[in-house]
Symmetry: C2
Subunit: 193 residues, 2 copies
């Protein structure tokens, strides 16, 4: 198991008096990643953004010349993953998902073309991965796309067991700034560790 | 002036019997870029996508369990540019705009934070640029972000004259597949030419 942030969460709670550990309670994985990305931008470390939700707009009203109101639209299946950007000259691409399960992560949480997308990115020299949070366990893992592809291509199961994460993914601990320092793991991936 | 595609458009019209030159008429720059990106993906050359239009959703109906209908939403200002992705291990990022002017491109067509974004990408090792089409002239240029920043930082004008494009940008000719082969120019930018 990997501990890129160095400390376990319990130690962090004992040693620090920042109120962030309380503030984080109830934050979704998405909001924690968005906040971390904002912090990375603030310190000019990386420019990684969440893509807007893809929708198909079917009706728009123009109550005035400059103001458009969308009156009917539908959510559509995303072509790619939710997050991408640049860090240390590298193209970064990932998807983030939560699961309530305490034993496994169901693969149909990710669209097949998103998995293909991650594989393409990796093949073309980008850093691709998924971040999965087991909310009930409060454990968050970063699984590199190579390990994801290995599972899909070699193991005939529709869900990835928690143990596969424990053995092949990096555990991401909560921190203060950023809340999830997933670029520390990316440093390892770039370094080939 | 740079002619990365080798031939001028008029030659292309004379020498080729592909019907694409007629089909292109009336195609917007956006649809041509989308089509070119799709082609690049088909031949496994690059994975560059247009981001979804950012909107703020204020009302959603759920007529049935699995079907959500957005009933009210508003267009919001994008945080970044429209297009990004990976090519040849490089992070690619750009914005595409059309203008009817025959003399200049008004800078307020691009949000200041988009310009800042392009500058950040470039600083961090990505390939950043804008593609501008002068629709009346039917001329399309790729202007590297460094040249864009030079203009903004050194020349006190609110619009970039066509001549600045002629001297500092790359002319993009229409082709068959892809319709706009802007990655040829990116090859030059990566090679440092």
């Amino acid at each position: 198991m990997n501990y890129p942030n160095g400390t376990k969460k319990n130690n962090l709670l004992v040693n620090h008096h920042e109120n962030i550990n309380y503030k984080n309670r109830g934050m979704t994985l998405e909001s924690e990643i968005n906040s971390s990305n904002e912090y990375y931008r603030t310190i000019d470390k990386a420019y990684i953004y969440k893509k807007p939700t893809p929708i198909k707009i079917t009706k728009v009203d123009y109550p005035s010349r400059d103001k458009a109101v969308i009156k009917e639209a539908f959510f559509t299946i995303p072509s790619t993953t939710d997050y991408n950007g640049i860090y240390n000259s590298k193209y970064i691409d990932f998807e983030a998902k939560e699961t309530k399960s305490t034993t496994s992560f169901t693969l149909n949480n990710i669209h097949p073309h998103q998995i293909k997308h991650l594989e393409n990115i990796s093949k073309h020299g980008g850093i691709a991965f998924i971040i999965v949070r087991f909310t009930t366990l409060n454990e968050t893992y970063l699984l590199p796309s190579e390990k994801l592809m290995f599972f899909i291509n070699n193991i005939n199961r529709k869900s990835i067991p928690l143990n596969y994460f424990k053995e092949n993914a990096y555990l991401l601990n909560d921190g203060y700034r950023p809340i999830i320092d997933y670029l520390k793991v990316v440093d390892n991936l770039i370094g080939g560790n």
